[in-house]
Structure formats: C-alpha cells, structure tokens
C-alpha cells in the first residue's frame, strides 16, 4: 500500500492487471452509461392495498406536497387535523407519510402502544408513575364497530396502565 504512487508493474495496475489506457477506455464507456436518477428511485414502498379506480379528472398520483415534512408540521399544529395524521399512519403503512405522521403525533405527546397498535395521549397527569409503567386516564384513537356504523373515534380509557416496554 505504501509503495510508489503509480504501480509496481510497469504501466499496469497491480490491483487489476489493466493498463492506464484500458482503464480510460472503460471509463469512457461508463461515461455513456451513467446511473440515472430513476435507477436509484426506490419503487414506492406504498402499494395501495385496494386501489380504487377514480375518474381521470382526479389526481392519479400523489401530490408532491405529501412528501414535504413542512406540510405535516402544519397539520400537526392544527389540532383539528389530527385525524389526518391517524389516516396516514393507518392507511399508508410503510410509507414516508406514515413516518412523518408518526413524528407529528409524537410531537403532540401521543404515544404508540405496540401491543394494542394504538396511539394514547395522557388525558390528565397519571396517578402513578414508576420506572416500568404509568397509570391514569388516557385518550386513545380507536376504530370501533357499532350499529350506527363503524368509525374511527377518540375515546377515553380510565385507570389504564401503560407499560413502558410496550412503548415504541
């Protein structure tokens, strides 16, 4: 490694046995086959599970703004729009949107419970706090089946123990 800068063999590279002219020719050929931006564009992780056909006049691809973190920060700052964060989280799984939505929820002191796959937020200061858990009243975002139709809603759970080893 610390020999001459050039190469020990006359005119060729010890590493490959090629000479400088050959290397330059190959580089020239590679110059005409540069990697293109699309070669590294990741196939969108997000594959709609049940893609629905919509009129052509509807946008057929995601608006670029949904990959802009500032857009999600705006949603996060508007308490009414929290449902949008939950929508992205549950309906756009494994996507950058899910990542951004989770980040905003966390900023608003929501905490993801790994066992229930549910976001909880303290409703009042917990009555008990130990190294392993806290217990108190929590708001949580839930989907419930009921005769007046299914729906996502926020409910309150009193006297709930949130064990920290379930905290993501």
């Amino acid at each position: 490694d610390f020999g001459a800068i050039g190469d020990n063999l006359s005119g060729t590279s010890a590493a490959s046995g090629h000479d400088q002219l050959y290397n330059l020719q190959m580089l020239e050929a590679a110059y005409h086959r540069l990697p293109q931006p699309k070669d590294s564009e990741r196939a969108k992780n997000y594959i709609p599970r049940h893609p629905s056909v919509t009129p052509a006049s509807y946008p057929q691809i995601q608006a670029p703004i949904v990959t802009n973190p500032a857009f999600w920060e705006r949603i996060g700052s508007d308490a009414l729009a929290t449902d949008m964060l939950f929508f992205a989280f549950y309906y756009q799984q494994n996507s950058y949107q899910q990542y951004l939505a989770a980040r905003e929820l966390k900023k608003q002191s929501w905490r993801f419970h790994r066992k229930y796959n549910t976001w909880f937020q303290r409703h009042v200061e917990p009555q008990v706090t130990t190294d392993d858990y806290e217990r108190g009243s929590y708001v949580y975002f839930d989907f419930h089946l009921s005769d007046d139709g299914n729906g996502w809603c926020q409910r309150i759970k009193n006297d709930f123990t949130f064990e920290y080893n379930f905290l993501e």
């Binding site: 931006p37 990741r42 992780n45 494994n94 996507s95 950058y96 899910q98 990542y99 989770a102």
Partner: protein
C-alpha cells in the same frame, strides 16, 4: 483543476448535514424520492 467549489451545488453553510440530501456525485440536484426514513416493524 481548481474551480469555485460553491458551484457544485452543495450548501457548505448549511446547518444540517449535507449527506441527507446528497443525491449523486454527478449532479447538483438534491436527492430525489423519499429521503431515508425508517418505520419500526410494529407500525406495519
């Protein structure tokens, strides 16, 4: 071989790390597509 390095499309005064948006050695454009993010397995 010398050149004005600010013409290479990198904001050397940026407070944030450059590698996050470093797209390619061949272009001034920032990285396209979703940046590097990581969703924990329990989110899926």
């Amino acid at each position: 071989l010398g050149m004005d390095l600010t013409s290479l499309g990198l904001d050397l005064n940026s407070q944030d790390n450059l590698y996050k948006t470093f797209g390619s050695p061949w272009s001034n454009e920032p990285a396209k597509g979703d940046p590097d993010f990581h969703n924990p397995a329990c989110y899926l």
